[in-house]
């Protein structure tokens, strides 16, 4: 099993996800993310790493996308249309529905507003999505005769999934981003005891002990409430789908409870679409939502209305959710510019902001920003940060490992240097190997493939009958002949094998001569030998036959006088191949000579 890992992103950067796995001869690409901090070619992974000459379509058996966040799917149209890939791309239904919207959004901002040229077009997004095959949760999908994949619920965002990739009896599970604790609109990730050879898990929050959700929510609501109470406006830049829904439910519940009147707005166009998708994919939300959905649609908000650009100029308090999330362009940036000058207002960044964006700048404390046309914007409004992203922490990672029972674990997205402790923790608790590759590194994991072999009933019966009784606790060694034909392996008795192959059985018989000093007559020597052997080999059947020979089990011993020396007797010890061990033993025993005092 080979895993080639590209997740460049220095330090805390969210970076981009793109992992190549080679399993039993199949090559699968996991996620195809874009790095949002760069404005040049560095934002896309360098696909020439994969194959220098060949076509990607020939090399890769499939591509799997875990969820719609741009750091996991942002480079997909570039990859499939500009670099060139025509094979299947797998993702869940919600991801398939939502991906193109986010991609188009981002394309519009990058190309139309920023005027970039080396970027994918709208048509490319459409063409790319035509190659997508949507999958359901827990549905086994045969990519080809040998490769199959299965999606599991991952929480995190709508439609996020963990994927199991299986070839024969080797398998890998890739988690993408996941969350082990349910939140207001999504459930927790879950996987069965599938025992993969390798579990690839994200570890963004592995070394973090998170502040309780209740505290964060309480602080968020406190800030919003205080601002609105003093007549200020609150801007919350969000990506259309994801944490926005969570915050909407939170505010709606709070507004209802506190009977607040200030309006809450959500970006035009995306409200309907978001609600539409959540309704469509209601089975992807958590238990509570599904249960209450019948009584009232959680996503039809009483207090949250669609936003119109003109509202930004309305006097009085209000709360606005606007896209995009890092204030890098579009509507949220426009609103920000209008409201930044008033210290009564507040902007709450609900997630990490990539370097270079206005969001990142104001969070770093910058209060004078240079806008287009060299205009300086003075930021007097309050700037707050409140992270609501849903990722698994160390406890969650341990839980997932406990659920899946992998043989090896590989952690991505973390800060490799400082993860030795977690690595030891995992290795000690689960007795598995834990890998933490650096970006661009290849990890090789040795697997022990199981080769199933059918054993014939006759052989089984025969082998269990010989020797000591079978003990359920001890392994029993059996002998047979392995027949390999086509793709099947069978263990049969040698006789049956010979029969099937049309071969005649050959018997191998060994004969050994042992010289014994004994001047007496042959039959006396035989008697001495017989008594000696009978005394020593108490567990074996030693017999003195009327024709003067001795048998020990099926081994034959005959005595003759030496042709030249009457004082020496020659013992002929003869045995078949099956009795090799006993035969050799007997021979060496006899070579030691007979005891002096013979009865």
């Amino acid at each position: 099993l080979l895993v080639f890992h590209w997740c460049p992103g220095a330090g805390q950067d969210v970076g981009r996800s793109c992992i190549l796995v080679s399993i039993a001869g199949k090559n699968v690409m996991l996620d195809c993310g874009m790095h949002m901090g760069y404005n040049d070619d560095r934002r896309f992974p360098d696909f020439s790493y994969i194959t220098q000459n060949g076509r990607l379509t020939d090399f890769l058996d499939c591509v799997i996308i875990s969820h719609f966040h741009l750091d996991h799917c942002g480079a997909l149209p570039y990859f499939s249309e500009m670099v060139g890939y025509d094979g299947p791309i797998y993702m869940t239904h919600p991801t398939k529905a939502i991906c193109p919207i986010l991609l188009e959004d981002y394309r519009k901002i990058t190309v139309d507003k920023k005027g970039e040229t080396n970027f994918f077009t709208s048509q490319m997004i459409k063409d790319c999505m035509k190659k997508v095959v949507a999958v359901h949760l827990h549905q086994t999908v045969q990519v080809d005769e040998e490769l199959e994949i299965k999606a599991y619920y991952a929480g995190h965002v709508l439609g996020a999934a963990m994927f199991q990739i299986k070839v024969g009896c080797e398998s890998v599970v890739y988690t993408g981003d996941y969350n082990m604790t349910p939140d207001r609109h999504l459930g927790a990730a879950w996987i069965d005891k599938c025992r993969p050879d390798l579990l690839i898990s994200e570890s963004t929050y592995a070394t973090t002990i998170r502040d309780s959700k209740r505290c964060r929510e309480r602080d968020f609501l406190k800030k919003v409430h205080e601002t609105v109470e003093r007549g200020g406006k609150v801007l919350i830049p969000v990506f259309a789908l994801g944490r926005a829904q969570e915050l909407c439910i939170l505010l709606e519940t709070f507004w209802e409870r506190m009977n607040l009147k200030a309006p809450i707005y959500f970006s035009t166009g995306l409200t309907e679409k978001a609600n539409h998708y959540y309704k469509l994919f209601i089975t992807w939300t958590n238990q509570k939502i599904r249960k209450t959905f019948v009584q009232r649609n959680m996503f039809e908000f009483k207090h949250i209305k669609a936003f119109d650009r003109a509202f930004a100029d309305n006097p009085g308090p209000m709360v606005v959710f606007a896209t995009p999330g890092m204030l890098h362009a579009g509507q949220s940036l426009q609103i920000f510019r209008k409201w930044a000058g008033n210290e009564k207002n507040m902007v709450i960044m609900p997630g990490y902001c990539v370097q270079g964006t206005v969001g990142h700048k104001i969070l770093s404390g910058q209060r004078k920003l240079e806008m287009e046309g060299r205009q300086i914007l003075e930021v007097k409004m309050q700037v707050e940060y409140m992270s609501f992203s849903a990722h698994a922490d160390a406890k969650g990672i341990m839980q997932l490992i406990r659920q899946a029972e992998p043989r090896n674990v590989l952690l991505v997205h973390g800060e490799a240097k400082k993860m030795e402790f977690l690595k030891q923790k995992i290795e000690q608790e689960f007795h598995v190997s834990c890998f933490m590759p650096a970006n661009g590194e290849t990890t090789t994991i040795l697997t022990n493939p199981c080769i199933p072999v059918d054993i014939s009933l006759g052989l089984l019966k025969r082998e269990t009958a010989i020797g000591p009784l079978p003990d359920a606790k001890k392994p029993k060694l059996m002998h047979g002949t392995l027949l390999m034909k086509d793709n099947s392996f069978r263990l049969v008795s040698p006789e049956q094998a010979l029969k099937e192959l049309g071969l005649a059985e050959h018997q191998l018989r060994f004969t050994c001569r042992v010289h014994i000093q004994d001047p007496r007559k042959e039959h006396e020597t035989v008697l001495r030998v017989y008594n000696h052997l009978k005394g020593v080999l108490k567990d074996y059947s030693v017999q003195h036959l009327p024709d003067g020979s001795i048998t020990v089990e099926s081994i034959l011993i005959q005595a003759t006088a030496h042709s030249e020396d009457q004082g020496t007797k020659v013992l002929l010890v003869s045995w078949t191949y099956q009795d090799e061990e006993l035969g050799s033993y007997l021979t060496s025993l006899l070579k030691k000579g007979l005891p002096q005092s013979t009865p």
Binding site: R210, D211, S212, Y385, Q424, Q428
Partner: protein, 362 residues
């Protein structure tokens, strides 16, 4: 509250120790092995006095961790070194660890300081100082108090034995003076330059036995002069005594805290002075609360004292329903922020809270 943050540790801790660089250390005390020692970086909101610029994180980060085979009941950093010492049942030996946060994030076990075991005594209480050399003062009973040099593991001092009372606390008052507190409440002073003398100081107000006592000493501003701060003692029934070590024949103050009875035992009793607020102390270990008192209004009457503030978060935080209500296992004050405390409970919760001074007081 001015502020309250709640966190959940994977395993409950009964110690919270401050380390260089404002780090905080916690450790597990479960019976089975696999207890973790975690050195945490608190969220930026706690590191500085004022919030400066960006405050993106509200979370603790695990800076480094180690694995202990035995439950960790006590942990002390050895000042001016990268070592720390732990102790815990089943015996009174100490474990020495190395923290090298720059190279790797694993706290490695480097040594053990073995001790002879007294009869019936379990684990050693410890205190550290690095005056003449890195030393650890340790012992589980009055008859087994010694100072060992941490790196060489050589014994540098053994206290004269005065009976085998079990110790509940010990401390360095300065580089030559030790203060020992027994479970019965008796305090003993010792000067390490005179190994044979062990001065028995103040005993406790005469109340029926079966009470157990803990002490809290206050460290004044940096410096190694003897700090003539009063010593506080807390009993499992809520009695509090303040003693000035220069005048041990009388109590400075006596008070009683309102605590539930029957008590939950003395396992997690904890009393501590505020480092940045004169005369304030906090107690915990009776239930899921932490009480903060202003002792300046106390006298020697021993009557019930009103707490200035009660932190109830742990009692409400729990999963609710099943199991016993959480018990606060330990609390500690922030070294610079005057009204900030950290407290941990038996359900694994870790709270950081900042209380507001009630009106009327400056």
């Amino acid at each position: 509250y001015r502020d309250l943050h709640t966190f959940e540790l994977q395993a409950p801790t009964r110690l919270i120790e401050w380390a260089r660089g404002n780090r905080v250390c916690v450790a597990g005390y479960g019976q089975s092995d696999g207890n973790e020692i975690l050195q945490l970086i608190p969220p930026p909101t706690l590191l500085t006095k004022e919030i400066q610029g960006l405050c993106p994180e509200r979370d603790f980060k695990v800076e480094c961790g180690g694995f202990s085979e035995r439950p960790v009941y006590s942990l002390k950093y050895v000042p001016d070194t990268s070592l720390l010492v732990t102790s815990g049942p089943p015996d009174s030996s100490l474990q020495v660890w190395q923290v090298s946060a720059e190279d790797s994030d694993v706290i490695k076990s480097v040594n053990t300081i073995a001790t002879e075991n007294g009869t019936g005594q379990s684990w050693a209480k410890i205190a550290t100082i690095s005056a003449r050399a890195p030393w650890v003062l340790h012992g589980s009973g009055l008859d087994r108090v010694q100072i060992t040099e941490v790196e060489s593991r050589k014994n540098v001092y053994t206290a004269a034995s005065r009976g085998s009372k079990e110790l509940s606390d010990l401390a360095f008052l300065d580089c030559n003076t030790l203060l020992l507190c027994c479970v019965t409440g008796h305090l003993c002073l010792a000067d390490i330059r005179q190994p044979q003398s062990l001065m028995e100081a103040m005993s406790v107000p005469s109340v029926p036995c079966s009470e157990q006592w803990r002490m809290g000493t206050r460290h004044g501003p940096q410096g190694l002069e003897p700090s003539f701060q009063p010593v506080a003692r807390l009993s499992s029934r809520g009695h509090l005594t303040l003693t000035d070590l220069r005048k041990t024949s009388e109590f400075l103050a006596l008070a009683k805290a309102r605590v539930p009875s029957p008590g939950s035992g003395a396992e997690f009793l904890c009393v501590s002075w505020a480092p940045a607020l004169e005369g304030y102390l906090a107690i915990s270990g009776f239930d899921g609360t932490v009480h903060v008192f202003d002792t300046q209004s106390w006298d020697s009457s021993g009557r019930e004292a009103e707490p200035i503030f009660v932190h109830k978060g742990h009692a409400f935080g729990g999963a609710g329903g099943s199991g016993d209500p959480p018990l606060v296992t330990v609390h500690t004050w922030h070294l610079q922020k005057p009204r900030t405390l950290l407290s941990a409970a038996s359900d694994g919760s870790l709270h950081v809270w900042d209380w507001v001074q009630p009106c009327g007081k400056c």
